[in-house]
Amino acid sequence: MRISWMIGGAQGSGIDTSANVFGNALASLGFYIYGNREYYSNIKGRHSYFNLTISDVRARSISNKVDILASFDAETVFHHFTDVTRIAIYNTDVVNTSLYNVQSIEPEVAERVGKLLEEKGLEKSVSGALKYMESNGVKLIPVNYDEVTKEVAAKLKVPLSVAERAKNTTAIAVSYALLGLPKENLTRAIERTFKQETFLKLNEIAVETVFSLVRPEFSLPIPGKAKRRIQVDGNTAVAMGKIYGGLEFQSYYPITPASDESTYIEAHQEVWYEDPKTGDKRKRTIVVVQAEDELAAINMATAAALTGARSATATSGPGFSLMAEGLGWAGMNEVPVVVTFYMRGGPSTGLPTRTSQADLKFALNVGHGEFPKIVIASGDHVEAFQDAVLAFNLAEKYQTPVIHLVEKALANAYSIIDVEELGLEKIKIDRGKLITPSDHFYQRFAFTEDGISPRAVLGDAFMYYTGDEHNVLGHISEEPVNRTKMYQKRMKKLETADREIPEEERIKLFGEDSRVAVITWGSPKGAVLDAIDELERRGGLKVQVIQLRIFSPFPSRLLKKLLEDKEVIIDVEGNYEGQAGEIVKEKTGIEPTHYVLKWNGRPMARDEVEEGLLKALNGERRVVLNGGA
């Protein structure tokens, strides 16, 4: 069972809270959900929406086609009416609103929608869109929001302007009632969310009113909950992973969609830990600094790492570009610093609140000169959590910057997961060659077999760091033979990492060996797996999905082995160039035979991926997806 639901409305009108309440209610019944939040780079007034998949088994993607659309404004109808398959909840008040009276709608959207309605001979208004849906077999559920508001106002004896606030709850209550689910769970979710009494009442009355009006359209078996579960978005998953992994210092400069991670950590700046010496439960502080810019952010984090702190920063494209020089210093000085890189639409300011996978090659090649970088790309919320710890471990083990790639499509996607999936007990902390030297004097950059020198921290011995080429002591050295050796020592660490990190951890495989392989990485993973399941279920087609999880050191040998005998290799990723495909070619000599690409800023949905894969299998070499509103 899988139902796709969507709610839309103006940014700042409370869509997120409502979606959250709705999700919580469903979660309490044992449903899994996977939801994505889309919004403009705007504070108030532009169209935003929440796309949710409800499932009785673990959900991992969204669908562009929505079973139920919950709306109360005209713009939501215009943005999404072509995607609705079963039910559309709309506001009777906006039926006559013309497309050209919606000022907040982008001219490009209005033009496209207008053209479509015109082609179909329909009126360029909400009613035209409703007719379009109706003719597609969509059931229309009119809601007189005004009346509900009036009733609420009357019952609670508050002005209409206050009662207005229950509009969102009305929309979700209608959806929820249509699903035929028990009212109490929704009420409880509301109670958990709204602490202020008037608002609480307001919403409760709205629910009552709705339930008295709406009849169920679905009858869903209630799965119930066997295991402990949490609902997290990607930002929080990473933050939690960092904290569990021992984060001690985080610097950041505000940027979408990265800063929510830092805000979360800031709100949890003091954490409990068990003092291993005494066994006592104590508190420690994670220093979180809002820096003046990203140049400062990366350097503060790098410097903190020199003191032995597990240290990180989080940013997205524009900020990461500004970190290029700092990362080079960290590489040159063998500093374990972690950068969580939330990819959003580029280039430049691009689409600041939309997703993208176009920064992969930049991350792999960032900074002038050569130095080892470790690059990890998480494919889902569980990996985002685990990779946050892994990033620290690899950074300290190989004493080099680690770039942890997460996309906006994960950062702002919400997933319900079983706590056991996190594998908390299996999570290790590896601090690498961290030492307290017995001597005062110390060779920070001593030559070793594996390229990794024992690492002491500032304050524990005398030592020198410099961004210049240096000798074992960390003093500037321009001597050519030392240069060749010291450079090699640094680069060797990546070779050591390549030897030590099992290739099986760098690639995740799904499905059996088959003549068809799909290569993917990052957030499309969920959609790809769901699409393949569907294809297999329907056509008996066997596909092996290869998820690239660590791009540097690249698992060349294993991947080559996996790809060698494939007849069809479809690369699915969210950029124009097929960047992972290019890397695969560089590293293995084997090129994907087909590409399914997307760069419109919207996450990959399982239905469009399915369609895209089918097209590829039918011979289209380069399929471009354009789903999402």
Partner: protein, 306 residues
């Protein structure tokens, strides 16, 4: 690891460079204060001045960073391990050109750092271009034409940016400079020491001869009192110090221009909302035991439970 015997490096500054005086004063200040040099970190930028930590003749810890960024590194070090004493050495190009954004921004934080500004009026290491402190119309040795930029006054700028101790020294008055450094190194909060640093190779205007006959000590002025003792005095003392900092010509003042110890340091501000910051040094917290995390994540999970 080989047995190590510490020895100083050969210093490759030009003969007669003012940096020698700064280095001397800095070493002396550290030694006279009896600072634990193992807990001392000298952070520097890029430029002739940036080499300072490498040239110390006593063992210390040096972090030679990026052009313009020394302050950001110093901040990261100090905040993650507040038990360290952190000093920044930077050039005028470094701190007031490419790095002026950080120079200003750290003023809002009052992190406990001492910033030593090697003011030589030129970009030394890149062969003598005009630095941000060189006055308009001046033509130092390697400029093709007189400088067309106005200068920025480090004292004015630091006071405007929130520095709580702002002083000027002279590279060839090592004793006086050393005393300024001692004040700065032993206080909480952010200190700036601008040092008039002759660069005999590229700056043929602001030479030793030039300064020797011009510098005078603010201390010797009968009414000079740069210290803010009550919140209400702040505005007046600031603007007085700023007016004084504009004095440049026949007489050039050195000494303390402004001091305000009433402003809490950034470390104190953090500890206000995070008590444990005072008890456990973040960088020294034991986050691992037997290969496993020591952090207790239960509360955090609970918040997200559905």
């Amino acid at each position: 690891m080989a047995e190590l015997e510490w020895k100083p490096l050969w210093n490759d500054w030009c003969p007669g460079c003012g940096n020698f005086g700064i280095l001397n004063a800095e070493q002396l200040a550290i030694q006279e204060l009896g600072l634990d040099t193992k807990k001392l970190v000298i952070v520097s930028g890029i430029g002739c001045s940036g080499k300072t930590p490498h040239f110390f003749r006593i063992p210390i810890t040096g972090v030679h960073t990026l052009h313009g960024r020394a302050i950001t590194f110093a901040t990261g070090i100090k905040l993650s391990n507040p038990s360290l004493t952190v000093i920044v050495n930077g050039g005028d190009g470094d701190l007031l050109g490419i790095g002026v954004g950080h120079f200003v921004s750290v003023g809002r934080r009052n992190v406990s750092l001492t910033v030593i500004l090697h003011n030589n009026g030129v970009y030394g290491l890149t062969k003598g271009q005009a630095s941000p402190t060189l006055k308009r119309g001046l033509k130092t040795k390697s400029l093709p034409r007189p400088n067309i930029n106005d200068d920025v006054n480090p004292i004015t700028l630091a006071i405007s940016s929130g520095y709580t101790f702002v002083a000027r020294g002279y590279a060839y008055d090592v004793k006086h400079l050393k005393e300024l450094m001692k004040m700065a190194f032993s206080r909480k909060g952010l200190s700036l020491i601008e040092v008039l640093q002759p660069c005999p190779t590229y700056n043929d205007i602001f030479t030793k001869e030039y300064f020797d006959k011009r510098v005078y000590k603010l201390d010797n002025l009968p009414d000079w009192d740069p210290v803010v003792r009550r919140e209400e005095e702040k505005g007046e003392k600031m603007s007085k110090a700023i007016l004084k900092s504009m004095e440049w010509g026949e007489r050039i003042p050195i000494g303390v221009f402004y001091r305000n110890d009433l402003v809490p340091s950034f470390e104190e501000r953090i500890a206000e909302s995070a008590k444990s910051y005072k008890e456990v040094i973040p960088a020294k917290a034991r986050i691992e035991a037997n290969g496993s995390p020591t952090t207790i994540i239960e509360d955090i999970l609970k918040e997200k439970e559905v």
